[in-house]
Symmetry: C2
Subunit: 303 residues, 2 copies
């Protein structure tokens, strides 16, 4: 039976590390990291996510800049707000809660966030949303982050390393090639000296490729597409998928499942993340960690 990687526990460990570092920054420079959390409109789910993020800031000593904008705001006005946050030297991270109202081009707005402050680039809820075609400012943003030695790892790599999984020399298979998860994960695994294969919707018999993998990153956005029999014994399986499937037994009418058949795969894998409770709880924490890193870079360079 696999070791189940508990994202909540790992996230909690990282959060206490962040709190320590925030305290040190504050003692040394009298400054704390600042995260601007921008929300447009009154969606209940968005408000709940934003509330969670602002609360997490408060718990760790990160100053939260709350920007609540009306549903009717124009794209130009929203971008103006982003530019003001870009210019604000107390703000080290900017998060624009998605989805934005339909009259606003999300990709355009996100691409206006300055590179150093775009702390949310690896948002797993965006999987598969952006295809790799045309000129794509987000891909550029991501790759430039990957090229920055100070940039923090995406959650999937952090979970692997904190679970003691060796990456160097291992065969890694990334399922899905989105700009937001699949592609950055592939490049970072490559950088960490794994032999990387990227599998996607045009791959024939992906099971034969996945069966060879020591590390599987599932980011296809297809509920339970990866079967237990596809997993090599002892492999580390990180499931970034978060798919809502109908479940009439629940009050909500749905439940969340990953891209991996957890029940079966956990019999074979060496390590596996559950959905929910694996990569998910890491999301907000990585956002805070990215904000801390941005603040450290800025404050240390300007003091």
């Amino acid at each position: 039976m696999a070791t189940v990687i508990d994202g909540k526990v790992v996230a909690q460990t990282i959060r206490s590390e962040i709190a320590d570092e925030v305290r040190l920054l504050s003692q040394k420079y009298g400054k704390v990291p600042g995260l601007a959390v921008v929300i447009v409109g009154n969606r209940k789910d968005s408000q709940s996510y934003v509330g969670m993020k602002r609360k997490a800031c408060a718990e760790l000593g990160i100053k939260s800049f709350d920007v609540d904008l009306p549903e009717q705001i124009s794209q130009a006005e929203l971008i103006k707000q982003v530019h003001e946050l870009n210019a604000n030297t107390d703000v080290h991270g900017i998060l624009v809660q998605l989805p934005l109202p339909k009259h606003i081009n999300e990709e355009k707005v996100l691409s206006e966030i300055s590179l150093e402050k775009d702390v949310d680039g690896f948002h797993p809820l965006n999987i598969g949303k952006l295809a790799m075609k045309g000129r794509d400012p987000l891909l550029l943003t991501l790759v430039s982050k990957l090229c920055d030695p100070h940039y923090t790892k995406p959650a999937c790599l952090e979970l692997l390393q904190r679970s003691g999984v060796t990456i160097k020399g291992k065969k890694a298979v990334v399922v899905g090639r989105s700009n937001i998860v699949g592609l950055p994960a592939s490049l970072l695994l490559l950088k960490a000296d794994a032999t990387v294969t990227i599998v996607h919707s045009h791959t024939s018999q992906p099971e034969n490729i996945i069966r060879e993998a020591d590390i599987v990153i599932a980011a296809a956005g297809q509920p339970k597409m990866i079967k237990g029999s596809w997993i090599k014994p002892g492999a580390a399986v990180i499931d970034v998928g978060t798919n809502a499937v109908d479940d009439p037994t629940r009050k909500s009418g749905y439940r969340l499942v990953g891209d991996v058949d957890f029940e079966e795969a956990s019999k074979t894998a060496g390590w596996i993340t559950p959905v929910p409770g694996g990569v998910g709880p890491m999301t907000v924490t990585m956002l805070l960690k990215n904000t801390l890193e941005g603040a450290k870079r800025y404050i240390e360079q300007n003091n």
Copy 2:
């Protein structure tokens, strides 16, 4: 026996297409593409390459801007020259011949070439020279090119497509992960819907992975490392390696070999490029094609 892909013949076809397009541009707008070829110092080999490039420009109707600078030029002065060429609207491509003298940081100088005019990003002679570490302006340049729908393919993809090799849904293995060849080739193959694996020096038993490949891009910079027995029957093999090995029977004392054992591999492969005479002859041609594409973009937008 494999079909040997003759890079000279393909290059000749592309050159006559370029000449046609240059003629059309000149008729329609009264303007021709311009390529600045910058050489520093008096190295014999560099002078011979530069001469080849300037001659090729003349043959295709591309205006060549010759910038010959003394060995002692300072890095700041060289960069000033690059900035002037960036600002010159008749120059659509800038090539700085490498290597530069030891007192000049090549990467720094290349990164000063404006994105739209950097026509030489995929230079195969640089294989393995730049590792993927640290913040790397060249990688950024490359990726932003890859994201530009107008940007021309690197030579290895052009050769595959012109030889009628299907890429979509095929298993492609790229051997080598340099920013200049391996990585861009991987991303472009992925974009063309191949299932891509990147193999490198930390990969154990690369032969087992390469044996599965329908398409092999060899860009490791290791003479004849890929054996004939590693090639799947019918595979397409593009050898980007150009390695000088000792050969006392030659006047020069050396000869060029690829990363693939051509003699053996050509018995099994479906298509294969020789070294020399495969990817090599495409280099100057792709440079000219990139210059033409840059000129078309600029002239069409500004007329």
